[in-house]
Symmetry: C2
Subunit: 277 residues, 2 copies
């Protein structure tokens, strides 16, 4: 294995044009030691089969993305969300990863109550945290950029994520530190230190910030080095906070998806070494 | 004048399809007492002529938008930005408004240094603050939503705006409180209180948050009541902080611009009464 890629993990979404076996092959060929997996393609392939494929190749599964969407008010919807998150915990355990990333959910239709939505997330974590810990899985609340606050994730900052996580033991609930979502926030470095001191940095993900943002803003995550984020600066913050684990590159980007997946993986590994190695 | 519109001011950009005389006519007809003006259309009409037109109609000019763009590194570019902002101060004084809104500027090309950019804004304010005060004009730093941090405004939160403003007297530098930019931020209510206690709420603007965001995200500001923002809640925060001044509605929205301007103004006044009256 290429030592400069020792901490590199490719999030499956970055090269979603590759099937799971293609992704595994490409990782072996390039010396990529870890993958972050997504539930939908994994379930399509079969969770047990995916676990066997990845384990057989000696790849680490650094995270499973994603659980969450815990902000519903309707009791039936809430029960279904909890069931789905319990299933996600079981899938994570089967895949051999200790980290399930949570995208908490946006405002229910017609609601303007961010505080109430955040409290419903806490209520759900009180159920899911112990369940996850029983399965050897930690929940990693991901603050999403404030531009997603209404429709995807009412947890917009590391401060808010930690305010939630701290209500639970660190082995149950921590946070996802993703440069794309927090790079603009001058309070984030201190919050990374806070998270590290509590052992709550459960995963560290990289993407660059590029503009103009595309319509809907979801698929505008930039290749490392193409945008405004100093990857080494943020890597320095998490390292200073004691985090020495894998570093996932997670890009949602139509232009990258339109290209050959192996080529994108090769480029991403090279950019990782150049900007965060 | 309709008393429920007593504090309403229409930002010119909301109905940019109207010429300045058309805007003034429509305001008089509907009983709208104030307008927030923009430099480009005002200069096109002539600053002195615009001042006479608006004053003759008895309309208050609640703000002039906008100065700023103070983050350049290049000395020539910085000098030009200062000159341009001095001109904006003079235009504000001519128009009879005491408030010049500042959009601070994004990262210079190739730079990833948000902190440095914010410090260059402070350097510029040290020059422009006294100049503005001499002309009876206050500068109102507008934190823009974090999605604009790289390309438009490195000041992303009220906290950051106040950290900058506090280096100067309140009669020189304060902040713009705009619901669109801060609605997601659970620290904003406390920052509004901080701003109010210091007499630094220089203007209060409303727009709603609607999704999906359009490409480039600039022109997605929603009509009041169409989105996720509880206008009365935010009005309550600024009032509790002692702000009793005009409330501007500022929408950049392609769909509104495509409609008849008077109709949009009528609708906006109605929405103001319904959601913030």
């Amino acid at each position: 294995m290429n030592d400069s890629l020792r901490r590199f993990s490719i999030n499956q979404m970055t090269v979603k044009q590759l099937s799971l076996p293609e992704l595994v092959d490409a990782c072996l060929e390039l010396g990529v030691p870890g993958v972050g997996l997504w539930r939908e393609p994994v379930r399509q392939y079969g969770v047990a089969a995916a676990a066997e494929l990845v384990r057989g190749a000696g790849l680490a599964v650094t995270t499973l993305c994603r659980g969450g969407f815990l902000t519903a008010i309707d009791p039936g919807e809430r029960a279904r969300a909890l069931d789905d998150n319990r299933a996600a915990v079981e899938e994570a355990a089967t895949l051999g990863t200790d980290t399930l990333v949570l995208v908490s959910g946006g405002l229910p239709a017609g609601s303007k109550d961010l505080h109430g939505a955040r409290e419903r997330i806490a209520d759900a974590l009180a159920v899911l945290g112990p369940y996850a810990a029983e399965h050897g899985v930690r929940l990693a609340i991901e603050p999403l950029h404030p531009m997603f606050a209404s429709d995807r994730c009412v947890v917009s900052t590391l401060t808010q994520a930690l305010d939630l996580a701290e209500r639970f033991p660190a082995e149950q609930v921590g946070v996802t530190v993703d440069t794309y979502h927090i790079w603009w926030d001058d309070q984030a470095p201190a919050q990374i230190a806070r998270a590290g001191a509590q052992g709550r940095i459960h995963t560290f993900q990289l993407a660059d910030w590029t503009t103009p943002l595309p319509e809907g803003v979801l698929n505008g995550r930039g290749q490392l080095g193409d945008g405004s984020v100093d990857m080494r600066e943020w890597k320095g913050y998490v390292e200073a906070a004691g985090y020495t684990g894998p570093i996932e590159v997670e890009l949602f980007n139509e232009a990258l998806w339109a290209r050959d997946g192996r080529e994108v993986l090769t480029e991403t590994a090279r950019r990782f070494v150049e900007h965060a190695g």
